[in-house]
Symmetry: C2
């Protein structure tokens, strides 16, 4: 037996007992005649004590050889410490060691196993098994595990049944790019890894499972960023005989439950906002509502005054940066403008209006507008002395997106994003379809299985092109502090409507049948009304911790090239494997050097 207790559990009540502990050497202090070693495991740290007077000489010598991260097993008596500490939970006691066994040695780790590591990202990822020993990473993995436990508890209590859906499915070109898996037994054919269990959970509803959930890995072969991974985890849910309202209530309930149980925070009822309003007020379907600074449209008062940039713009819109007039020099404004003009944002320019504390007004468009004109703007935008208006103009979609970036940036600069504040928001009434000018076709705003609102069904079946643009769906996103943490919709459960949707999305009848014939077939055998939602589990964990990167909530994440640098994968496979799969590589051959 390696231990009678773990390194986090000994207290005053254990004083006098003989115990055995195993763990890692966190560090030691050697005072010559006395030595202390901190022994660490997942549960905590316990102080070991060696005393020249009472400790066996060989044992003392052996203890001196222990390096950082050595794995040891010790037996000894629990003593009350002379100088207690409340920095660790076992701070009242220490162990006077009488037996010491080295279970394994350790090379010096490439970075220190401490809360603030000196290891860079690359090193941490290569030695992820050491990184996980650090509290911040370990705690995030434990947090995630607890989130999964509580999610399952809440949903099970609500009659949701967890059903595993298959990972080896069929590739469908709609949506993101699939990872595919060549089949050995079916020459020339491929499985695909699921981007989500969407069709299977719908079939479970057709199958009468009524309430389904799954915490499940999904896969997308997309180019990566810090908050994207090729494999990610969803809390995936579906309900039959359900309205949008019941879904929102159920999953608002889940979210509140997780916040209360895990963070001890009570959330108030979640506000709701239509997609149109979110776009108009925030230029985004995932607004960070921890701060206001909402958009004010100025077309009616800023156009027709001879300023060509505005006059030719589809939209003139601004935000009021409260109290910032004195904070921004001409140079600061210039830098901010340059920031907006970077290709990532692509604004053409920035118009500012400063309402100075002394009552004067300064603006980059003072030549075109009188102080009285600018005062009208200020009134509409709620400006007071000291405020600064930031105004963009151009094509509606683009300028909203640009002003959204600017608003979020100003929120950061002005310290308006309180990391301890959680502002959830349901964004509802999404359009069903989105017209894409580039490809000259409709895209599904949520996904191809989303139903139009009941009142829009007739329009969808019979309407013209412009009607289609106006169709609304019972689709909804749950947004938290500007991150989309969940999204879903009421689904189509009728073959005719589903066929029409595929047609609108540019599928030929043959393509629709080949790819989704099984689903449309299922709709002919008594498919119930149904709908659902999926939460991005990695992101939910990150957002609840006030973090933007999801990587440390994943035990073994991949880098931006989709590589696991620890195992050094992906890797080449043998020619025999390729042959068995009826494949030949066309990758450029590396020249060996």
């Amino acid at each position: 037996m390696y231990r009678t207790h773990n390194c986090g559990e000994l207290r005053m009540e254990h004083v006098g007992q003989t115990v055995t502990l195993s763990g890692w050497v966190q560090g030691s202090r050697d005072k010559g005649f006395m030595m202390w070693i901190d022994l660490r495991d997942r549960y905590g740290i316990t102080q070991l004590f060696f005393n020249e007077n009472s400790t066996d000489a060989d044992l003392f010598t052996k203890a001196r050889t222990l390096g950082r991260e050595y794995v040891v097993k010790v037996t000894g008596k629990v003593l009350e410490r002379s100088s207690k500490t409340n920095k660790i939970e076992t701070g009242d006691i220490e162990i006077e060691v009488s037996e010491l066994e080295i279970l394994n040695e350790s090379l010096t780790p490439p970075f220190t196993i401490a809360d603030d590591s000196d290891g860079g990202d690359d090193l941490r990822m290569k030695y992820r098994y050491l990184d996980i020993r650090r509290n911040p990473v370990k705690n995030k993995l434990m947090f995630r595990s607890k989130m999964a436990v509580e999610t399952r508890k809440y949903l099970s209590d609500q009659n949701f049944c967890e059903v595993e859906t298959p990972f080896l499915i069929k590739s469908t070109p709609e949506g993101a790019r699939d990872f595919v898996v060549p089949s050995r037994m079916n020459a020339g054919q491929f499985y695909a890894l699921p981007q989500s269990p969407q069709t299977f959970k719908q079939l479970l509803m057709v199958g009468g499972m009524d309430r389904y959930f799954q915490i499940v890995k999904c896969f997308r072969d997309e180019d990566l960023r810090s908050d994207r991974q090729p494999e990610f985890t969803q809390i995936d849910c579906e309900m039959a005989f359900v309205t949008q309202e019941e879904i929102l209530q159920t999953f608002e309930g889940l979210t509140k439950y997780l916040f209360k149980t895990i963070l001890g925070k009570e959330l108030s009822d979640f506000p709701r906002m239509s997609y149109d309003k979110a776009m108009k007020l925030y230029g985004s379907d995932k607004p960070d509502t921890r701060f206001d600074m909402t958009f004010v449209e100025l077309n009616d008062i800023a156009q027709g005054k001879g300023f060509g940039v505005f006059d030719s713009a589809e939209l003139v819109v601004g935000i009021n940066a409260k109290g910032q007039a004195g904070e921004y020099s001409n140079k600061d404004i210039k830098n901010l403008t340059a920031w907006l003009q970077r290709p990532q944002i692509g604004a053409k320019g920035l118009v500012y209006v400063k309402f100075e504390e002394n009552g004067s007004i300064k603006s980059s468009v003072g030549k075109f507008f009188s102080d009285d004109d600018l005062k009208v703007w200020g009134e509409k935008m709620g400006a007071e002395k000291g405020d600064m208006l930031l105004i963009l103009s151009g094509e509606t979609d683009k300028v909203r997106s640009q002003l959204n970036d600017l608003r979020l940036e100003m929120g950061d600069r002005m310290g308006l994003k309180d990391p301890n504040q959680y502002n959830p928001l349901w964004v509802v009434d999404f359009p069903l379809l989105e017209w894409d000018e580039d490809s000259n076709r409709f895209h599904a705003m949520h996904h191809p299985f989303t139903a139009p609102k009941k009142e829009d069904v007739a329009n969808m079946l019979n309407g013209d092109h412009e009607t289609m643009k106006a169709l609304r769906a019972d689709a909804y996103d749950l947004v938290l502090n500007g991150s989309e943490i969940g999204g879903g919709s009421i689904r189509i459960h009728d073959r005719t409507l589903q066929a029409k949707n595929f047609k609108l999305l540019g599928f030929t009848e043959e393509e629709a049948q080949e790819q989704f014939g099984f689903l449309m077939g299922a709709f002919e055998y008594g498919a119930p009304p149904h709908g659902g939602i999926a939460f991005g589990f990695d992101r939910l964990c990150a957002v609840m911790n006030g973090e933007t990167s999801i990587r440390d909530f994943i035990a073994f994440p991949k880098n931006n090239q989709g590589r696991d640098v620890m195992i050094d994968g992906p890797a080449k496979i043998s020619q025999e494997q390729l042959n068995e799969l009826f494949l030949q590589s066309t990758a450029p051959t590396e020249t060996e050097s």
Copy 2:
């Protein structure tokens, strides 16, 4: 709102209430002036009642149009039934319907949605979404869900932390064949889908996670049988600072907990048997111990009497089929012999000895052995009047395997496999390595990460070839009624020993480093002693239900060609997809007809 209650919850206490239900039409009985419809959902069946006198005429007409599996929403008053039934939980009440909405129609299902379906396997799989509506399938999926809930509860309570390990890893030629996933971002390279999270869970132990578990999908590209699927689910566990004894106790505890909580059965402490003993007594490392009929070796008394077949055999071994002497005519024996000689088993012949009720002895080898000789066999094998000895001979491994097949067959024929009896067994002390004559090399008996027993470590590092064959491991299987439901081992946590093991298994140093360098590297940074176990979750569910096939415990299983016949996958992918992945298909082109 589609319902105020589900179809399984209304009782006498609800009588008089107006309720709304939604569900599927299970069937109807039309008596002309009165009609009853059974409405079904996941939770049960509720009887709907229509009465010509009290029901609106249009409603009555509409109700008559409802076909099987139509989806309807009804509102009505809960009445006490005149003739109650206890066949369904809602048998005390019925609903007098006042409103009826058809939510969706249904074609006539290709098989009846009933406990005993008239659908064959192929049809059931193609329309799996209808098959799932049937109670036997639905209940198995719910059973599985409950098993997962209770497994997680037990392990969480024992401080196990569920950690998700990656699905996109690296291919390793050891073990079964990998499914691979071509990487678009790393030309010419492939991920592999994990056959198990083995190395990752070991790295989590190196990382100090202490106790890990995961209910996780695993993948093996092997030829399929009814109890094998290309994707299957494991309860995967690992513990640090642990001995074999603690692992056995922990997971015997889990198994007992699942039986008690889910089946209401108390299991006694699990017996243990060494691998050697299991092979000697049962010819199998997964003996069905619900019945005895253990092997008795007869070399000492059956050889040297002039019967060449026995004299030249490495092993002469038999079982005593109690009370079967009178049951087997010469023709029956001939058929049994033919059954044994099929290529699947490959026995050369069968020797029988019948101890007839009248005291006479009949045997196929009466020419070679006197009645006195045969009585000595009978004594050794505990034969009484009416018993029949069945004896095989030949090379030890083969003959044991053949006699195991025969013993299991006789167990079936004699009705000795009580489906309500559960006999768990730990098989322990497995050999570390297995010599394979064909490939002239060692194979890992469990897997390449299994440690030799402590007392065998020195032998492993320094011994000769014969010594290697005798190495024993702290490896263990949990067997239940003849099925292996779990297996595991104490792992190597030392680089030198791991390198030696790879060498014994035929890896060059370069291959070992390329494939498992990350693991051996991790062993140099303070790897703790650790070990674990994995349960086959699909099989555990099946065995606990007394079933041999795992298919109905999987929502969407694949057939023996690895196909999902419902979605018709795998399928071809586009040339564009292949190009992006740097691949070309070499599959024979189908001729279109």
